[in-house]
């Protein structure tokens, strides 16, 4: 909007906003930032670094399985690598990049706010996430990586069978990581509830935001259960408690229940942001509004909700009673319905619109194809006998890679292209973009599709090797080749985006003629996001030209500019009526300090130095005191 400023009075107002919202320059600025966009970028690069690590681990796995009886990795190394691959991709890549990077950067922009509801908490989330990821990787670096798989079943993960510190790195690291995600999700919910631009009632909120609302609620209720299971595990391992020890009245199945009560909602947590990205990209490139908008919004919320009632379908082979399994099978089928609604809404929107198949839309089409495959194989697992036959085989590996890589990561990659012009102000190279899409698409198909067949042919998952003459070798070779093609596609994306950062054509505010508010401001957006809090009368705010003209008039008249301080308006939860103006905290050294104090505490818990851990906790409490020492009106 800055570009449309015409009058000197308007320009003076924008200058004041610039001065008020400016942050410290240089490294110190990045360490103390509370700007949701800069935090989003920190999240992006950190999670991409972990994506690289997880990718290398995947390639190691595929290289080990390139033929029977290969010895690229020892069995112990293989177990550590596949465990780290799972933990990394789920906790350190997909969730942080979708929620941390995309959510953080885009959510306030899409609802016309100037920042998140709790900017310092937002910074804290990031620093805790980064610290927890480094914490877990220190385990790998010192040769104490977890190696009991990402769902870490006891008693294999107990002190008796996993005596080194690997499992402790895993458990404490994930508790730490969980605090970060919990804090972030509370922040998202309050932001969505309270900071929507006045006028953006819930029925005018973009579907992207609905997806993030659903994810945040799912995280808020799923993560504590994971934390509890991990706390029990650490108490068992470090203090000799007996939660999971059958000999003293515990039960190993308790771990499975607790883990999957978290773990299944987790699957929807992973995929819902992807749904949100898809519902952002599709309308833009097919030039029409989403078909069945209210149904899709409802479906996004329902998926998150029903996701809590299906966990035991991960345990059909554990000998649960038939009545229990049948209940969970039914619940698992119910969740197909909201997914089906969304799927056909995307497809019908594409069919009835005038799609222009640019790179971002291609990624979404790829996503739809993979989501159908992964969804259909998922439905099959609600057939109890089929599940009991194929669970823990490569068929499951195929299923969840189609869902998690094909369906969750493809929209993320599409989103990287779609919002690249907004974040950098430059266009990526369209031709290279398309080539990298087809390379990745082919690689994904060739890597993961044959895994269905391998599962049907009886190959269990998590085997570091397999015998010759089982009929498995050919498919394994094919998959490994596919994984290299896939890796090449991903590298090409990185090359394209990195080169475009310097050489891309200038993008302008709104290169796609897109419908949501992030395109109303300059590319990249100024620290205060919008010079005027935008007017909204539909979920496709940018397709309402009279609203945008009103913004320009407001700037000239000085209405809704709020240039007196570091402020943002709040509104009512449902109708988004203008409520009050709140002062936003600016950059702060306390979030990173608190994250450091907590890192110290977790390190000491790992080493069983209880007193030192307590000292770090006390230090964290002092940081919190300092955090709250400066109130808004004293700023």
């Amino acid at each position: 909007m800055a570009t449309t400023t015409t009058t000197t009075a308007a320009r003076a107002r924008v200058d004041r906003l610039e001065r008020i919202w400016e942050e410290r320059p240089g490294l110190l600025g990045w360490l103390t930032t509370t700007d949701h966009k800069r935090i989003g970028i920190l999240y992006l690069f950190t999670s991409l670094a972990f994506f690289g690590a997880g990718g290398v681990e995947a390639l190691l796995i595929r290289t080990q399985l390139l033929g029977p009886d290969k010895t690229v990795l020892t069995p112990q190394q293989y177990d550590a690598v596949f465990t780290m691959h799972g933990v990394t991709m789920i906790f350190l890549f997909v969730i942080p990049i979708s929620i941390g990077a995309f959510g953080n950067y885009l959510l306030p922009l899409q609802i016309g706010a100037r920042d998140m509801a709790f900017p310092r908490l937002n910074a804290l989330s990031f620093w805790m996430f980064a610290a927890s990821g480094i914490f877990i990787y220190i385990g790998l670096a010192v040769g104490q990586a977890p190696s009991a798989g990402w769902f870490n079943y006891v008693p294999l993960a107990s002190k008796t069978y996993s005596p080194n510190l690997g499992i402790d790195f895993y458990a404490l690291g994930l508790i730490f990581n969980g605090i970060s995600s919990t804090v972030a999700s509370a922040n998202f919910i309050v932001t969505i509830f309270k900071l929507r631009a006045p006028g953006m009632s819930l029925n005018r909120m973009p579907l992207f935001c609905y997806a993030f609302l659903a994810v945040s609620f799912a995280l808020l209720f799923a993560l504590p259960v994971l934390s509890v299971s991990l706390i029990f595990l650490e108490l068992d391992r470090q203090l000799g408690f007996h939660f999971y020890d059958i000999a003293h009245g515990g039960d190993p199945l308790l771990w499975q229940h607790l883990f999957w009560i978290f773990g299944h909602p987790e699957v929807y947590i992973i995929i819902l942001p992807a749904f949100g990205i898809a519902t952002s990209i599709i309308p833009t490139f097919v030039r029409r509004r989403m078909v069945a908008f209210p149904l899709v919004a409802l479906a996004e919320l329902l998926v998150a909700f029903i996701g809590f009632g299906v966990w035991a379908h991960h345990m059909f082979a554990t000998g649960l009673s038939t009545a229990t399994t049948v209940y969970f099978a039914a619940a698992s089928l119910v969740i197909v319905i909201p997914s089906g609604i969304q799927l056909f809404a995307w497809i019908m929107t594409i069919v009835t619109g005038t799609p222009e198949f640019k790179t971002p839309l291609l990624w979404i089409v790829g996503f739809i194809v993979f989501f159908i495959i992964g969804g259909l194989s998922g439905i099959m697992f609600a057939a109890i006998p089929f599940d009991q036959q194929l669970t823990d085989t490569y068929f499951v590996v195929a299923h969840f890679h189609f869902v998690i890589f094909g369906a969750a990561v493809f929209p993320i990659l599409g989103g990287l292209h779609y919002w690249f012009p907004k974040v950098t102000g430059r266009m990526y190279h369209e031709g290279l973009g398309k080539v990298s899409f087809w390379l990745t698409f082919t690689g994904t198909m060739v890597t993961f599709f044959p895994m269905h067949i391998l599962g049907l042919l009886g190959m269990p998952r998590r085997n570091y090797t397999y015998p010759r003459d089982m009929g498995w070798t050919g498919f394994n070779v094919l998959e490994s080749i596919g994984s290299y093609v896939l890796a090449a596609g991903l590298v090409l994306i990185a090359v394209n985006l990195a080169m475009s950062l310097r050489r891309g054509a200038p993008a302008g505010n709104d290169p796609w003629k897109a419908p949501t508010l992030e395109w109303a401001t300059s590319s990249p957006p100024p620290p205060y996001n919008f010079a005027v809090i935008p007017a909204v009368s539909s979920p496709y705010a940018m397709w309402d030209p009279e609203d945008r003209e009103k913004d320009v008039r407001n700037l000239e008249a000085g209405v809704l500019v709020l240039e007196q301080g570091h402020e943002t308006p709040t509104s009512t939860v449902v109708d988004a009526e203008w409520d009050e103006v709140v002062e936003m905290p600016s950059d702060s050294p306390w979030p990173i300090s608190l994250a450091l104090a907590l890192s110290g505490m977790f390190a000491m818990l790992l080493l069983a130095h209880w007193v030192t851990a307590g000292v770090f906790l006390a230090f964290a409490a002092l940081v919190l005191l300092a955090w709250h020492s400066k109130e808004p009106q004293e700023a």
Binding site: Q76, L156, P252, R288, V326, G340, A382, N463
Partner: protein, 337 residues
């Protein structure tokens, strides 16, 4: 086209290579069933694949329609009627799935499941006990003294109740050609039915990750004609064959006096170790180390002297024996029929 015809057409398009393979290769495939339970599951799979194929290609068709009509708004024939479009979403997203899913639910979870669930008590002719260890399978035949490892013998065409337990971590007993898998969980006594249509050898493998040598925790089920099974069981229940020559006697003495006896049992001797498999009738088994290597003299020798390069992480340590002792132990173990 009939339902079955369409199903096969889809199967051929999607899984041509697989179908060929499944026909030819019966090693551990879920698609070469040799029991009612396994066959029901395989049939369920082919039907689900057919239905999934219809959905997948239907959706693909719609996407292609979107591509061919990328410059035209709305639907062919029906145009831009928003209500109709929403109606289609409701039809494909709610109505059709509800019907299909109810059908799947009833067929899979009430009909097929009855063939695969744990056998009702007293519905089986015999019970055997399979106990998971890191990383081998201990097999016991309640009512007899028979104990063996990694090779489960059952009479063919007989319902066998298998009680699956574990002594350490979670394992999962899985013989795909005969039935679904069942987890072996500390403190839980899970049961599964084993039944083979005809005599044969069916390969199985641990299906729950159980540590570094999870990959080498396989087993074979030998379904035998009942009389041969009875003969086998009689032999299995007996103590070891007494050494029939001075050389074999020496082998037994070396075995009992060495580290071997602290982990292995040979019934009829003073070797009563319980860490490793029972070796009383070792020579009747076809493989060593849970199907890692064949049970032949050369492999057996290498396994005794340096098991860790064959199965890294296995509980068995290298046994240092002098040349003459080693030859005697080899002879002795090979005599344990």
């Amino acid at each position: 086209m009939t339902g079955a015809g369409r199903r096969h057409a889809v199967a051929v398009i999607l899984f041509a290579a697989l179908a060929l393979l499944a026909a030819g290769c019966g090693d551990q495939s879920t698609l070469s069933p040799h029991s009612k339970a396994s066959r029901d599951i395989a049939t369920l799979w082919w039907w689900m694949l057919g239905a999934a194929g219809v959905v997948f290609f239907g959706a693909l068709f719609l996407l292609l329609l979107g591509w061919t009509r990328r410059r035209k708004r709305g639907l062919p024939v029906f145009g831009e009627d928003e209500g109709l479009t929403t109606g289609l979403v409701v039809t494909f997203g709610i109505a059709v799935p509800v019907v299909t899913l109810i059908a799947l639910f009833v067929v899979a979870n009430f009909s097929v499941v009855s063939a695969t669930q744990a056998p009702k008590t007293a519905s089986t002719a015999m019970t055997i006990q399979v106990i998971g260890h890191q990383w081998f399978w201990e097999v016991r035949y309640p009512g007899t003294t028979a104990v063996t490892a990694n090779e489960i013998h059952i009479p063919a065409r007989t319902r066998v109740n298998v009680v699956a337990t574990t002594t350490d971590v979670i394992h999962s007993l899985w013989v795909p050609e005969l039935n679904r898998k069942i987890d072996m969980i500390p403190g839980h006594r899970n049961r599964v039915l084993l039944y083979a249509d005809r005599p044969g050898v069916y390969r199985g493998q641990c299906a729950e990750f159980c540590g570094p040598q999870h990959a080498h925790m396989s087993m074979k089920v030998f379904a035998q004609p009942p009389d041969r099974f009875r003969a086998w069981l009689r032999n299995m229940a007996a103590p070891r064959r007494a050494p029939s020559s001075p050389e074999l006697t020496r082998g037994e003495q070396v075995f009992v006096a060495s580290a071997c006896a602290s982990c292995h049992t040979i019934r009829g001797t003073s070797a009563h170790g319980e860490v490793g498999p029972d070796l009383t009738h070792l020579a009747t088994r076809t493989t060593l180390a849970a199907l890692t290597i064949p049970n032949r003299r050369g492999y057996l020798g290498g396994w005794i002297l340096d098991p860790q390069h064959i199965k890294p992480g296995a509980k068995m340590p290298a046994i240092a024996l002098g040349g003459a002792d080693f030859q005697a132990v080899l002879d002795y173990l090979q005599s344990l029929r």
